[in-house]
């Protein structure tokens, strides 16, 4: 179990981590997501003893790892780390992967076997004799993964381990990570800016922002109930709008957004400034005429402001006093025959509006 207690890290005048507290359970997969520069790498480096915190303590199984200088080797040997910009040792791919095993005094035949298995697992079978310095970005990243995994650490720290990989390879690596966690019980801390990856892999996600965890929770919690406006934006809630509660009664309220009334489930009371988070998938677009009643839901008339591609979908933004985006498959967009300027109505349930306090920072 990894415990972070009030961990801080300053570089010169810049405070990157400011009293971060968290607990990562044994055999858990924990994803750290957060914007560029939030301190994800810094955090992993502190856990891996590559840097010392400016304050606070990090405990693994109860041991303050930065205090135990004598045991630091055995503590380091519990962990494996995949770096964000992996470095290649100037030798063959096989030797690159074998290093950790050699440090632990493994025999030559064991090494051969393990390295080959690892290469196979990351999809680089046959690359063993290549000089690591000549690998492509994604190939090297996979070598770095194999290098950290082959030592079968108790704790695996991975700093954005799949950024240079194509989706097919990513899937392969993700399966591998899940398998390692399941079969070997490895605790895994992964930093990623790909929220969906966090979701696919992690038992819990921590959103690192402004020096600390803005939210820690299950993927679903983080996605559907973001703790604040920044988290909402960050996890891809397209529609985050500000408003003021103008009426409230037992658990539901009416919020005024730029003059438009939106009904939502919430316990905020009249006069409070709030943010409404509405996922674009929850918004239905219908031709202006044919909007059917949603029991107690929101139906907002408006005109299509823009249609832009988004993977196999289209993102349709409707101006209904404020901008609301929805995601429709291309086919639906074609079927509805909507284009910029079309009059439509946007509807969504009271439950799909997640209300958080408006914070300015």
């Amino acid at each position: 179990m990894i415990e972070l207690e009030n961990v801080s890290k300053r570089f010169d005048d810049k405070t990157v981590l400011d009293s971060v507290t968290a607990r990562i359970g044994r055999e858990e997969i924990f994803a750290v997501i957060g914007p560029s520069g939030a301190g994800k790498s810094t955090l992993l480096r502190l856990v891996d003893l590559l840097d010392s915190p400016s304050g606070g303590t990090i405990r693994i199984d109860g041991t303050d790892i930065h205090a135990e200088r004598k045991r630091s080797l055995s503590i380091r040997r519990m962990m494996g780390m995949v770096f964000q910009k992996p470095a290649a040792f100037n030798t063959t791919v096989t030797e690159n992967i074998a290093v950790g095993l050699r440090f632990r005094g493994a025999g030559e035949s064991v090494i051969q076997k393990k390295v080959e298995d690892a290469l196979d697992m990351v999809g680089l079978a046959g690359y063993g004799e290549r000089r690591a310095r000549t690998l492509s970005g994604g190939e090297m990243q996979r070598v770095a993964l194999a290098r950290a995994m082959v030592i079968e650490p108790e704790i695996l720290l991975m700093d954005e381990p799949t950024v240079n990989l194509d989706p097919v390879s990513v899937e392969k690596i993700e399966e591998l990570v899940l398998r390692i966690n399941r079969d070997l019980g490895t605790t895994i801390v992964i930093s990623t800016h790909d929220m969906y990856q966090g979701q696919r892999l992690a038992h819990r996600i921590g959103v690192l922002m402004n020096g600390g965890f803005a939210q820690v929770g299950s993927p679903r919690e983080v996605f559907t109930l973001p703790a604040n406006r920044d988290v909402a934006r960050f996890v891809g809630t397209e529609n985050v709008v500000e408003g003021v509660v103008v009426a409230d009664e037992n658990g539901s309220s009416v919020v005024d957004v730029d003059g438009v009334r939106v009904r939502a489930k919430s316990s905020f009371s009249q006069g409070e400034e709030v943010c409404l988070c509405i996922r674009s998938e929850d918004i239905r677009i219908a031709p202006a005429a044919g909007a059917r009643g949603l029991r107690g839901g929101n139906i907002l008339p408006g005109t299509v402001a823009s249609i832009s591609p988004r993977g196999p979908f289209s993102r349709v933004t409707v101006d209904c006093g404020f901008a609301l985006s929805s995601v429709l498959s291309w086919k639906v967009v074609d079927d509805l025959e909507i284009r910029e300027g079309s009059p439509v109505s946007a509807s969504f349930t009271v439950e799909s509006v997640h209300v958080v306090r408006a914070t300015r920072n």
């Binding site: 480096r45 470095a87 632990r104």
Partner: protein
Amino acid sequence: MYEIIEGFVEAARLIFTLDPDVMAIAARSIVISLTATILATLLAIPLGAVINFGTFPGRKSLINLIQTLYSLPTVIVGLLIFLLISRVGPFGSLRLLFTPTAMVIAQTVLILPIMTGLTISALSGIDPVVRDTLYSLGATRLQFLVNIMKEARFAILATVAVGFGRAISEVGAAILVGGNIAASSFGSSTRVLTTAISLETSMGNIPESIALGIILLAIALGVNLAITTVQHR
């Protein structure tokens, strides 16, 4: 100018006739300077690693001091060692003066600063992520050192080349603590190529000097080819 050609001819003659005196002198040069280079390497590498990777007060000043010692004249090194091992010096009882051992010591001391300094330079050029990766893979201190050396092998071996070059080409210390003795037994003699060159030069025998210089460079070439072979492995 004619002497240069004469020098080449003489060098060829000495080499092809396997002139026993010259062979002994060349062998002595190789043994002494290689030993000194190996000793200095063994000292310089851990020292350089500690200084490069360490964080301690005065680190920068120490590096400055080491760089300053690049300018240590060989004569001064010779003198200092001489004072230490002369009969009246603190280590006089070891009777090291005028022995090849003394020359090894002097050359080791002479090249230690430059080898340490260049080791620091070589190590500081290594990508910090390489260092972090080794740490994080659970390297012990020794494993770390060995592997970081492997990474820096090009620059480290260049350092060895510099050290050897300086050792085999220096004359001031060799003459002061060795004495340039041409005794009848190999082990008691302390004449090496550079001291022999000095002697020939002082006697005005320029072709002989140049011939010995060519032999010295031939040896250096051999050593460097060996180094390059390791470098590119």
